[in-house]
Symmetry: none
Subunit: 227 residues, 4 copies
Amino acid sequence: MKKGSRATVPEHIETPNETSEPRRKYDPEETKRNILEVATQEFSSMGLTGARVDAIAERTNTTKRMLYYYFGSKEGLYEAVLEKVYGDIRALEQDLKVSDMSPIDGLRSLVEFTFDYHDKHRDFVRLVTIENIHGARYIEQVKTFKNRNATVIHTIEDLLARGVASGDFREDIDAIDLHLLISSMCFHRIANRHTFGTAFGRDPSHSRLRARHRAMIVDATLRFVKK
Amino acid sequence: MKKGSRATVPEHIETPNETSEPRRKYDPEETKRNILEVATQEFSSMGLTGARVDAIAERTNTTKRMLYYYFGSKEGLYEAVLEKVYGDIRALEQDLKVSDMSPIDGLRSLVEFTFDYHDKHRDFVRLVTIENIHGARYIEQVKTFKNRNATVIHTIEDLLARGVASGDFREDIDAIDLHLLISSMCFHRIANRHTFGTAFGRDPSHSRLRARHRAMIVDATLRFVKK
Amino acid sequence: MKKGSRATVPEHIETPNETSEPRRKYDPEETKRNILEVATQEFSSMGLTGARVDAIAERTNTTKRMLYYYFGSKEGLYEAVLEKVYGDIRALEQDLKVSDMSPIDGLRSLVEFTFDYHDKHRDFVRLVTIENIHGARYIEQVKTFKNRNATVIHTIEDLLARGVASGDFREDIDAIDLHLLISSMCFHRIANRHTFGTAFGRDPSHSRLRARHRAMIVDATLRFVKK
Amino acid sequence: MKKGSRATVPEHIETPNETSEPRRKYDPEETKRNILEVATQEFSSMGLTGARVDAIAERTNTTKRMLYYYFGSKEGLYEAVLEKVYGDIRALEQDLKVSDMSPIDGLRSLVEFTFDYHDKHRDFVRLVTIENIHGARYIEQVKTFKNRNATVIHTIEDLLARGVASGDFREDIDAIDLHLLISSMCFHRIANRHTFGTAFGRDPSHSRLRARHRAMIVDATLRFVKK
DNA sequence: AATGAATGAGGCTTCATTCAT
DNA sequence: GATGAATGAAGCCTCATTCAT
């Protein structure tokens, strides 16, 4: 990470022709958002200890000082990143209305969603990994965290109950265990793709394998749950 | 800072007449082994960037200088730790002679072994995780690494082939994919137990759940593989 | 950091019909007084360098910006504090009319007043101490300072002259020296009570010792002055 | 305090013709001593908060890094300074053998010693003052501190007891109180000389006044103690 | 083979202050 | 008159590493 290399933040995010007004100089929300975005990249690629506050500041529209102004400390910023990133996945999970589907279709959808999300949001996967190295010490500070997670479990419980009622699913499946199982399969292939790739000469996250793995995980899940 | 606190393992306590060899004051192999052991703890609990050379040295029988003497650098020491730790699991896998068992029993044994190993060797799990955060940059330096891994795949290929022949197993299963699946389930519950525990109020690695999860993973694997 | 904690004194609590004047939303004098009060605490407890502008602002009814608005700088605020605090003691000394008393009674009163004032106004004592650490650089800027102090000396000179005339006091006593002596005894026990307390296990400013020390200092002064 | 001004440490301290050996490059004790000396100046002139670690390092034979190597932190260094400086005065007090003198002569000697010491060691006076601003928080960490101080009190108790026995001294004098009184008079004229000088146009520590004040304080003490 | 002492470079954070409205 | 947002400069400290014996 050379000092002067300042990797450019992709400019295409700016919505070009929205208005012709000059960009306001003071825009706290925008500033915070910008910092958070850059920090997400840095923390997820370098880890909490490896991340450099200077490196984050350099790729930001503001100065290092503002990091502290808004987030108080490196750790405070890291927590904000965690909060945002965990919030994103849980918010999407809620949008995924599986209660309208048959148990089997609903479960398939949930697995596919989980697969796709991990496949696409590698930052998230890395951050979870990093947080676990730190014993989840920081996520515990994030107040919104625990409540949010309850939702997935409710969704799964609902699917299981309906599947049992319809005679499709086994009766002895615990929702949290099932969630763990699905997460495992979706998470591991992304999180540990590097050592896996080195060991077996095959990057498990490679796009060529994506469809096959997606089908495999759906299949494994359904076979596990079905009567 | 606690300068003088250096938790020393007592300086050798004079084992006088153990052997008739002149007691060597310095034992290079023992010193290296000692360093490696301490370093494994430090790296696995703190990560590569988070680990502190000073912290390692302090818990060692020798001084920081020796650490450089034998391993050249922090990264050199980290690589040595990786090599040792990866060597251990693969060595054990080879001992597990599944070729004498039926395909189903063999596969069950392999899964159980994998489960137990991850459950017991959390340092290993953490180090793999850490190495992935660094893009497997260091494991690539470890020469013996790739060869060792080929063995598991051979074992699985053999099991699958025999299972297909006996009509127990499906024909369309890829050995590496299956290995990935098994690893996922055994790895994730240990690696990410902290965030999982915080999120769902249930530590998935807790001993109370071990037997249930072990059975679950065996079950899921066999259901996936069976015809 | 505790961003949002700013211990606010409640915002004014709507004293509706107190007067018929249109209630002013902003009261510059009140604001200044409030700032000064908080600043006195902060400077006297933390020193000039140790005091934090942010800390002062937080405990104020206004914002940090106002502090600069009214006092220009941290040093300007410090000077304002000094001026206020020195003004208070000299004003009181003038009230103490010792010219009506006998030389001995008058001197006793002066000593007791000095003792009580230092005993009660520890902020003052600390600020004098602090100002001396900075070589009295700031008090020199306070214009009213020098004139005010002349008064005590006049009081003492008057007492001494009358005491000499009455045959009660020695002739060779210098008013400024005597003032220094009295100040020393009253000041030190407050200013250095912490190290003294730690050293000898006895806080010299403790209320249990107050009467004894007060009598002792009066006694020592009178014995020194008497023929 | 301009950055590049590096005030030279007086070189005359070096004992010139002691030996002709080249100065050893590694001399931990000398290095520590050197740091401590410079730090004493900086802390005593700037206060704990006002002192700059960089400023200390610059006037040292070593680098800033060594400050931390030997003293751990700015506060650790400050404590070491306190320890040294308090140790010095108490050590000298012990050398002053007043037990061979008459009670009056002994007490005079003690007062004169105390006077001279404060008059000469302004760094000490300033540091005590500074430490009191910090509530004696740091001196409390210094283990050797409390024991050392007991000695002065023993000396005074001995003098008082002998003076009472000989009929020279009053019976109702407490040793710690007397110590406080003497300290007050010797300390204040140095510690607060700046504000005093500004207030009364007379620096109480000026050499022209020294003899007079010395006599005055001896006189005041003896008059206080005598029957 | 072993080691106590030393260190340059860079890390995180905080300071008093000013900008732009 | 009043203010939320922003900041350059400097502060303390820690890192992995090497020097000299």
